[in-house]
Amino acid sequence: MSDARTAILGRLRAAGGSGPLPDLDTAVLERRQWPAAERVERLRKGMEAVHTEFLEALPATWPAVVRAFCDHEGLKNLLFGPTCEAGVELAKGWAPGGTQLMPYDRSVEAFKDELFTGVDAGFTSTVGGVAETGGLLLMPGSAEPRLMSLVPPIHIALLRASTIQDTFWSAVKSLGWGRSLPPNALLISGPSKTADIEQTLAYGVHGPKRLIVVLVQDLA
């Protein structure tokens, strides 16, 4: 145990608690609730306000919607995770020619330069969304590595409407993130941006310049 640690914790303990723990009244968060259809609208409104683009799809058609987007944009390639459910579905029936599907199936060290300069777009699934403010919830990992939604200039994200939660707070509870988290999890609300130059908004700073949400309408 380091001297600094002992000294610091010792000082903090010596200071004493001073008072009972205040109660936490979470009513202000709980009352932020909307019906499922309205959650979708709110999420869309919040994210479009920060330049996120939306493509509508149905459970059976979303791979085709992604393909159509790639064709329309003339993308050279699309980085994806070949072992995850969405990746498998995307690849199934992906016509040859045009945009090449590029599997992220090895360590980044094997192709770092190419990732940074030669990949047009990355495709990931999501584990949910946040209605109140707009936002996607992602759990990168082995199947869908972290840099897929960060490095390529375009990020295409698959969002099922049924997974959209009311607030980040309710999503945390629903996903169990408060108890256990993988090495990386995150919320994404739009393409990367800054207002550091005279408070003027500019998009596509270091993260993706475009965020495309493929919204799967799967509400019963």
Binding site: S2, A4, I8, L9, R11, L12, A14, A15, G17, S18, G19, L21, P22, L24, D25, T26, A27, V28, Y104, R106, S107, K112, V130, T133, G134, S142, P145, R146, L147, T167, F168, W169, V172, W177, G178, L181, P182, P183, N184, A185, L186, L187, I188, S189, G190, P191, S192, K193, T194, A195, D196, I197, E198, Q199, T200, A202, Y203, V205, H206, G207
Partner: protein, 477 residues
């Protein structure tokens, strides 16, 4: 005992007041931030509920701070995050140097971290031959000019587009002169991409530290934070020891009020939750993650039940956005890492109330800051307390430099003041003189001349209210 060389806030502030461009830039910027924040809180009752909850969460965390820090450390360690403790900035800098050297790291790319500014980390690393490059656009801009941040959220807020355009065209290789914001941004993106790709290490701060899951939460809009923490093989995080909360559920409302209070955004572009280095099956992410927990006077502040409220701060910057003083002088005039109202209470507690006596008096106690603080830090109340500490040595106080701002002159002035005002007969005599001879008071007298720099001399009425009421008679019991 007298203060060591006092840092005179009045001098730096007056200089700043004479700079019309600075005044215009800050006024415009603060007005924008004030409006944006107000638009995020249309319902005052709802806002108060959110503030109350945020305050309760931060208070609770502080009440259990040592236990939470231990729990946090244990869970970080379990997750593979290596935790280090530093009592001082010097120790923290040495720890980071040690970590970097152990990996032969020569280049460090930085996400925004005010704690690293507090440590003067960049200068320290440069002196040891390690390049520390800022990647947040605002920080990158000021680093090009060798400046420090003038605001805790928007570091380059004092700079104009044309200043930045000139800078970029001079300091970035092959860059042409342009004032187009998108073009300037694209230039920075290109330069920094190279750095992210090849940096040996990345550094970040920590917005919230979660004890239950051993998680570092990072708020950002640009993506440079994620780049710095996911691309290089080594990630070092630095945080003040007050940042820990119990669980991620507690973070949610704090995150919500932070972005709204800071920049008037409902949510940031990214909210990044890091709970470990690259997992066994993961294909990217840093191989090693280190965390340095910094004290630097926070445990001393913690020990005082009233001053402890200073540590509730979530570094949103709303206080400075609404401060009539900050808006007129900008952040550099504070000559401290943290400017604005939070800086006015934090800096004297870290450096000494005698040395920073003038700064503590650099406030009209208007309370605009406390009104918007998401965690209800009573800044004016704390300023009054620090003014007390500067001039008195009270039993039980552990404030640095207490009593060293005391002067015999001020002691006598208040003694005289009190002596007259608690004796109605003396007060009557004094007001008689003031009302009869007040016009004769020279405008150039000490203190009076400070008033008359920009105002006409105040002239007492011919008869005081008390005198008139006495004459009226019969109103007293």
């Amino acid at each position: 005992m007298h203060a060591e060389t006092e840092i005179l806030f009045r001098d730096s502030a007056s200089k700043a007041l004479l700079d019309p461009q600075l005044r215009a830039n800050f006024r415009r910027a603060m007005d924008g931030l004030i409006t944006k924040r107000r638009n995020q809180f249309p319902d005052p009752a709802d806002l108060q509920d959110l503030r109350d909850l945020s305050t309760a969460i931060r208070s609770r965390s502080l009440l259990s701070l040592p236990e939470l820090l231990e729990q946090f450390e244990a869970n970080c360690t379990k997750n593979g995050i290596q935790v280090h403790w530093a009592e001082t900035c010097e120790q923290a800098n040495e720890l980071i140097l040690g970590i970097l050297r152990s990996k032969n790291a020569k280049t460090l790319v930085k996400g925004k971290s005010m704690v690293s500014e507090e440590m003067h980390l960049n200068a320290f690393l440069e002196s040891k031959g390690i390049e520390a490059l800022e990647s947040d656009l605002g920080e990158y801009i000021i680093q090009l000019d060798g400046e420090t941040p003038s605001h805790i959220i928007m570091p380059a807020i004092h700079k104009n587009k044309d200043q930045i355009a000139r800078q970029f065209s001079q300091k970035i290789k092959d860059a042409k002169y342009t004032e187009d914001v998108d073009e300037l941004t694209a230039m920075a993106r290109k330069v920094l991409r190279e750095k992210f790709l090849h940096a040996d290490a990345g550094l970040s701060g920590v917005n919230f530290a979660v004890a239950e899951t051993g998680t570092l939460c990072l708020v950002e809009n640009e993506g440079n934070g994620r780049m710095s923490t996911h691309v290089p093989p080594l990630h070092i995080a630095v945080m003040g020891l007050e940042k820990v909360v119990a669980c991620l559920e507690d973070v949610a409302p704090l995150y919500a009020i932070l972005t709204r209070s800071a920049t008037g955004q409902a949510v940031s572009t990214y909210f990044n939750l890091i709970s470990g280095p690259r997992g066994t099956d993961e294909k990217d992410g840093p191989r090693e993650v280190h965390l340095v927990i910094l004290d630097n006077g926070r445990s001393r502040i913690y020990a005082d039940p009233q001053l402890r409220a200073t540590l509730r701060c979530i570094r949103c910057g709303a206080c400075m956005n609404h401060c009539p003083v900050y808006t007129r002088i900008g952040g550099h005039a504070y000559e401290a890492t943290y400017p604005g109202p939070i800086g006015k209470i934090l800096t004297p507690q870290m450096e000494g109330v005698g040395v920073r006596h003038d700064l503590i008096h650099g406030s009209s106690l208007c309370g605009a800051c406390a009104e918007v603080c998401p965690v209800e830090i009573p800044i004016p109340e704390i300023l009054v307390r620090l003014r007390r500490e500067a001039t008195h040595e009270d039993v039980g106080s552990n404030v640095i430099g207490r009593g060293t701002g005391r002067t015999a002159t001020e002691d006598w002035a208040w003694r005289l003041w009190g002596g007259v005002l608690k004796r109605p007969a003396l007060y009557r005599v004094a007001t008689w003189f003031a009302t009869r001879l007040g016009k004769a008071l020279p405008a150039g007298a000490p203190l009076i001349k400070n008033w008359t720099r920009t105002r006409s001399k105040p002239v007492p009425a011919r008869r005081s209210l008390s005198e008139r009421m006495r004459a009226e008679g019969g109103s007293n019991e």
